[in-house]
């Protein structure tokens, strides 16, 4: 979604007519290839050659910030980081893992409790959610023109505001004429944001709680996780979020505030 959104923002003048927009014809993993899954894939069949990419090139990645290639960190290329609350991320990941497992009869279903324990220890793909988030968050504070830290929940809550913010950050701001011509709304429609928002609301059946910007990853009543996690699991994960994320983040935020003042 965000990959596609980014593609639509930066290529909006090349593909002004939505009728022949490549997003309608191409699979987005070809337009926005992943470093680890496509560009540098071990299996040559999965590889997407860099020479075939048009500029500006858009990539996706799950690699933690410290492990990005040196040239990514040293160049002026831009990074948009999407952060989702760990409760929904965990449940989504557990369900996804079991979907994969169900295709292989010899693999037993991964129990929720077992997956939860691993997740709480930071043993999940690409590392703990706290290290992953903090790595990009710190960089977004230190170099705000390099990394933009966007919360997924905010994006779905107010897509127009955040699409404008992302476009400006990437150096492709919308001008007044484009705003008047509803270009932002068209891009949001193209990327299915509104559709997704509706679907999410329908699925959760609860009204989204406002998320306080000061406290990242507050237990907003969003998504499915409450259906899966027991009260004790909720308590345990909340505690981890508080200790490993909220506290360091509030420290980082107050630190930034001091610098600004």
């Amino acid at each position: 979604m965000v990959e596609t959104l980014t593609f639509a923002i930066v290529n909006r003048r090349t593909f002004s007519s939505l009728e022949d927009h490549p997003l309608l014809k191409n699979i987005s993993h070809e337009l926005v290839p992943s470093f680890e899954h496509s560009v540098y894939a071990v299996d040559i069949m999965d590889q997407i050659p860099l020479s075939k990419m048009n500029e500006p090139r858009i990539f996706s990645s799950h690699i933690p910030f410290p492990s990005l290639a040196k040239s990514v960190k040293e160049s002026n290329c831009k990074i948009v980081y999407i952060s989702r609350n760990p409760f929904d991320t965990f449940v989504s990941y557990w369900i996804f893992g079991n979907k994969l497992r169900s295709k292989i009869p010899s693999l037993p279903t991964l129990r929720l409790e077992e997956a939860f324990e691993s997740y709480c220890k930071g043993i999940s793909s690409f590392g703990s959610f706290w290290d992953h988030n903090l790595g990009y968050l710190k960089e977004s504070i230190a170099r705000s023109n390099k990394v933009l830290f966007v919360k997924y929940e905010d994006l779905t809550e107010d897509p127009i505001f955040h699409v404008k913010k992302i476009a400006k950050f990437l150096g492709y701001p919308f001008n007044q004429e484009e705003e008047n011509n509803k270009v932002i709304e068209n891009i949001i429609n193209l990327c299915g944001f509104e559709k997704m928002k509706e679907l999410e609301v329908n699925k959760s059946g609860t009204h989204r709680e406002q998320i306080d910007y000061k406290f990242f990853f507050r237990n907003a009543k969003v998504g499915d996780w409450k259906k899966y996690l027991s009260p004790s699991m909720e308590e345990k994960l909340s505690k981890i979020v508080d200790e490993k994320l909220r506290r360091p983040m509030s420290h980082l935020e107050s630190h930034t505030t001091k610098i600004i003042k």
Partner: protein, 140 residues
């Protein structure tokens, strides 16, 4: 980061060795890793450009040995194990692509990277909305 050989073009920066092993038939290993990297797996600032070059000539055996030397846990999805690599738990099949990326990728100033953890609303939404896009025509 470990040293990068920045002058080498992407296509010729590594050796490709077809092998048959437990990872699947006809898998192709990109051999980049040297056992020297083992000592740098947690702190990757020690490698010089020279050592990195050595890495590109290292054997596939070294790469396998390197991965096998890392702490291991069960993965969540298919059979890939997670290995503690550069301080994070990494699916075994992605360690080589990440090393290859680190050694070879040349960023351009106008590049854009969308980063996230898996299942952060980028993957399944991408697929789902693409399906929506294909089915539902958009107004001009």
């Amino acid at each position: 980061m470990w040293g990068t050989n920045q002058k080498q073009p992407f296509s010729s920066a590594y050796h490709i060795v077809p092998i048959n092993n437990s990872l699947g038939k006809n898998k192709i290993f990109i051999t980049l890793v040297t056992t020297k990297i083992r000592s740098a797996s947690m702190d990757s600032t020690h490698l010089t450009e020279e050592q990195s070059k050595d890495g590109q000539e290292a054997s596939q055996q070294d790469c396998k040995l390197f991965i096998l030397s890392l702490p291991k846990e069960n993965g969540w999805g298919l059979s890939q194990n997670l290995y503690l690599f550069q301080g994070f738990w990494c699916p075994s099949n992605l360690i080589e692509p990440i090393i290859s990326f680190q050694n070879n990728f040349q960023a351009k100033d106008n590049d854009i990277i969308v980063a996230s953890l898996p299942k952060s609303g980028t993957t399944w939404l991408k697929h789902l909305h693409l399906q929506l896009l294909i089915v539902v025509p958009f107004p001009p």
